[in-house]
Amino acid sequence: MTMPPHESAVLTREPPRAPPIARPSPRHFTIGAAIVAALLLPLLTTSFVTFQLTLVMIYGLAILGLNLLTGFNGQFSLGHSAFYGIGAYTAAILMDQADLAYYWTLPCAGLLCFVVGFLFGLPALRLQGLYLALATFALATAMPQILKFHPLEPLTGGVQGIAILKPDPPPGVPLSADQWLYYFTLAVLLVMLAGAANLVKSRTGRAIMAIRDHPLAAAAMGINTALYKTLTFGVSALYTGVAGALGAIAVQFVAPDSFTFLLSVSLLVGLVIGGVASIPGSLVGGLFVLFVPNIAESISRGLAGAVYGVILLLVIYVMPAGAAGLARLITARLASIRSIRSEGRST
């Protein structure tokens, strides 16, 4: 068998390296299949399910933001409801008062949240663990009160909140508003997922994770921990803020009490259930956050909280490291079975 010339050339030039264009791995096939499935889903389901799936993606994006900070950088946050809220209000105010098109509100919300997150990251540098949790909790508690604050009412609508209109699909596109919003969200999600995956894989990402694993050792290796920690705070807030803006567009309404501490807790639950420091896990977390409370309510109305709690406990018992941990365990088992089989064949 003869080798194609270009491949042999690559091999002779740098033998230990992989060829510059990576061959599609099983991972790429999984990602491709997931994207195809995501593209087909709204064509096969009702508009309500499409709407719910849109929300799943939005929560998944918010959880991804939290994951960048907590999972990859080791900074604990109970304040991400505030960033989600800032994103949502930015979108709503820009659409309601400035008549900005919905797609322009996303970069605005992201940018604003990045700045706020970066600034909040500065004092957070001094705090660790539970003390940081308290500081971020303060942010989460303050947000609804600031949004209700009387002098800001012309802007925020006070307790009433702001209602906005659902965007129509562009003329000539044969989709319903729900379907269009689904595809729009999917596109944003894919871009941001790719961004997060690249960030984590890069030199910066390794610095971010080194700080999580041992801040002192990371600093000793020459990583500017203060800069990376505040930047991660900013990027994390950006992700959650964009999710908030999408959320406001999807539910067409913002009100101060949607962005309380409880939203932060939901995001945290989603983060853990999906898997800490796992990018696809964030989407599993989004599924859990959206659907499981409804399932609990359908099992027992009065004891919905208890049923939810029991489900949570069971999930933690079965997969203490979240869905991503379970997936890692299964692939490791499969790989070991495969290697045992191939060894059996070779001997």
Partner: protein, 292 residues
């Protein structure tokens, strides 16, 4: 001046609620090294148990002691049944287990005793103390009981073999096990004691905020804030922190013009964070030294 005094006393009275809860928070923190988000709901459940016993015709003190004993046993049972299996799970997973426990207790209390608010008796009476309108006898009693619990716990942890063993188990589980301390049971004991302290706190708080399944949400959060402000490694600091949160909240609401009333909680929290900037391990806490 009189206004200042009045607000100061009102702040101390609110602060006593937070301080009682902060003490329970620090108690569990000493044993398991993180915060128990279900602490407030455990206290609420204990208070409902006491209320039920009073409804069945028991005198107050019988119900009080009964609730404390039941909470102690319940706390141990929760550790043994729910948390022992996941002791090696990541901290964030354990945190989610606390949230689950929160949901279970809150929702079952609502189902058993429903969500209507109930009055809870106080053994101290509610007349104004010394005939002045500054603070009631119940509030004074609450401050007294909190301080008494603090002193008792101090002597328990400093003076008794069991207290020393518990501290050792929390500080360095491996070494503690090597010298023959049953670390697992020390953890369970820590849970039991914090549930008991929480029960006392709940029964002191209930006459003020009224008894209902959601009564503890706010209290717990400000109890946390107080505990963290004072320093999680110091029970005395936590109690002081609890009082401080109450006082700051009240003074900010009264004396900061324009934004004070609407944003008083926010201002209190911002002040706490500002204090933590200067003392990152709490005002009375010790900094943790880490090995590279």
């Amino acid at each position: 001046m009189e206004l200042l005094l009045q607000q100061l006393m009102a702040g101390l009275a609110t602060g006593a609620i937070y301080a009682a809860m902060a003490l329970a928070v620090v108690m569990i923190y000493q044993a398991i090294d993180h915060l128990n988000f279900a602490q407030g709901e455990m206290a609420m459940f204990s208070t409902f148990l006491a209320w039920q016993m009073i409804q069945w015709g028991q005198p107050y003190w019988v119900a009080f002691i009964g609730a404390v004993v039941l909470s102690f046993l319940g706390g141990i049972a929760i550790e043994r049944v729910l948390f022992k299996p996941i002791r090696n799970a990541p901290i964030l997973s354990q945190l989610v287990a606390f949230i689950a426990l929160y949901g279970i207790l809150n929702s079952s209390a609502g189902e058993i005793w429903d969500f209507t608010i109930k009055t809870f008796p106080t053994p101290f009476g509610s007349a104004p103390l010394f005939g002045q309108n500054l603070i009631s006898t119940h509030q004074a009693g609450m401050i007294g009981v909190t301080l008494a619990m603090l002193v008792l716990l101090y002597f328990f942890f400093r003076g008794s073999r069991l207290g020393l063993a518990m501290r050792a188990a929390a500080a360095n589980p491996d070494s503690a096990r090597l010298v023959g301390i049953r670390v697992g049971w020390m953890l369970a004991l820590g849970w039991g004691m914090s549930a008991a302290v929480g029960a006392v706190a709940g029964m002191l708080i209930a006459p003020v905020v009224f008894l209902e399944p959601n009564m503890m949400l706010g209290v717990l959060l400000y109890g946390f804030a107080g505990a963290v402000l004072g320093g999680l490694s110091s029970p005395g600091g936590a109690v002081a922190g609890g009082f401080a949160v109450g006082v700051i909240e009240n003074l900010a609401g009264t004396f900061i013009p324009y934004v004070g009333r609407e944003l008083k909680l926010t201002i209190a929290l911002v002040l706490i964070v500002a204090v933590l900037m200067v003392r990152p391990s709490g005002v009375f806490g010790r900094a943790v030294v880490s090995r590279v």
